[in-house]
Symmetry: C2
Subunit: 197 residues, 2 copies
């Protein structure tokens, strides 16, 4: 599968992203990335390409594209992760738990009883707002680890030495590649419905 | 202020709604209603007019309109409830905590430390998924109370006897009316930006 032709210097907040990006909307206004620390399998983030912290700062077009991307992606995510439902959530601002100042929509596939051993279904939100779900922390840790390896000038795209990257980046890249293929399988249906995402 | 000209037989899941509706998008594809049991002041619900349970069942237009309505409403809600952030969440399906089978986006205004006395900020989600946030239960209880008063044929619009309605319906109606006025104050700005919601 050819790589996605991503906008130059695509970022998630202050962090450059590329290999973990599994989807770019046709308008190039929105993209989807797999998670550094998914709370449940298939937990992905959908973001506007333009980096602004708050929903209210998006244009009407950006908002429409963002949530149509959520809708289209969520269908594939639900299918491939054999989910029966999804939590869709935006922490819109610091006081709502936002840790990276770039609008991002959490899409988390759910199944009956999936969190029974962790205290019940509503625990997903505590996980999202707690240590486990601190995206900012996870990204900074990855950046620090990369710097410690003398890779401070590289982004997630890696380089010739990408085989030296920690398994977690490889895993993300593999998952993104796989999801991208699965998105394509669903694309025909989407096109028929004129979704354009 | 003239009443909103609502679509005939507007429903939230199985429940007819009218007086607690504070906003109808210009396209008439989406509406906003105040909550029977707000988890925090200003907690509102934004819904598509067409009643379907899942996000994936909405059209591209409906999705665009729904979330642009969220964006436009959230600006007013944040202003009038003096919030600094918002939680925006969809329980998309029963296994994600959905209790009324009609897509609804929770918009919950947040302030720093607002839930400190209830166990911290992430408690908002537990409240949403728990007893406190069970919309279906709250609506059924209201319907049962209405039936007990022999009002089973009436909807929230009430009738000549609407002054006999319990205070909570009056409160909802008052809040909806007030919010509608506040939405109009922000409408000019929205129109300038071509939002159309």
């Amino acid at each position: 599968m050819p790589p996605i032709n991503l906008p130059a210097n695509l970022k998630f907040g202050p962090f450059r992203v590329s290999k973990q990006v599994f989807h770019l909307s046709k308008t190039q206004l929105s993209y989807g990335l797999v998670n550094l620390k998914p709370l449940l399998p298939g937990h992905v983030l959908i973001c506007p390409v333009r980096s602004v912290p708050r929903l209210s700062q998006l244009s009407a077009n950006e908002t429409a594209d963002l949530f149509n991307t959520v809708r289209v992606v969520s269908r594939t995510i639900e299918r491939v992760y054999r989910a029966t439902a999804l939590n869709v959530a935006v922490q819109d601002g610091v006081d709502a738990g936002q840790s990276v100042p770039h609008v991002h929509v959490h899409v988390i596939p759910r199944q009956a009883g999936d969190l029974d051993d962790r205290g019940g279904g509503d625990q997903i939100y505590e996980m999202m707002d707690g240590e486990e779900g601190d995206l900012g922390k996870a990204f900074w840790e990855m950046q620090r680890a990369r710097q410690a390896r003398g890779e401070e000038r590289r982004d997630f795209a890696g380089g010739p030495d990408s085989d030296r990257k920690p398994r977690t980046e490889q895993e993300m890249s593999d998952e993104a590649e796989w999801l991208r293929g699965e998105m394509e399988k669903d694309a025909d249906e989407g096109d028929e419905k004129g979704l354009g995402n």
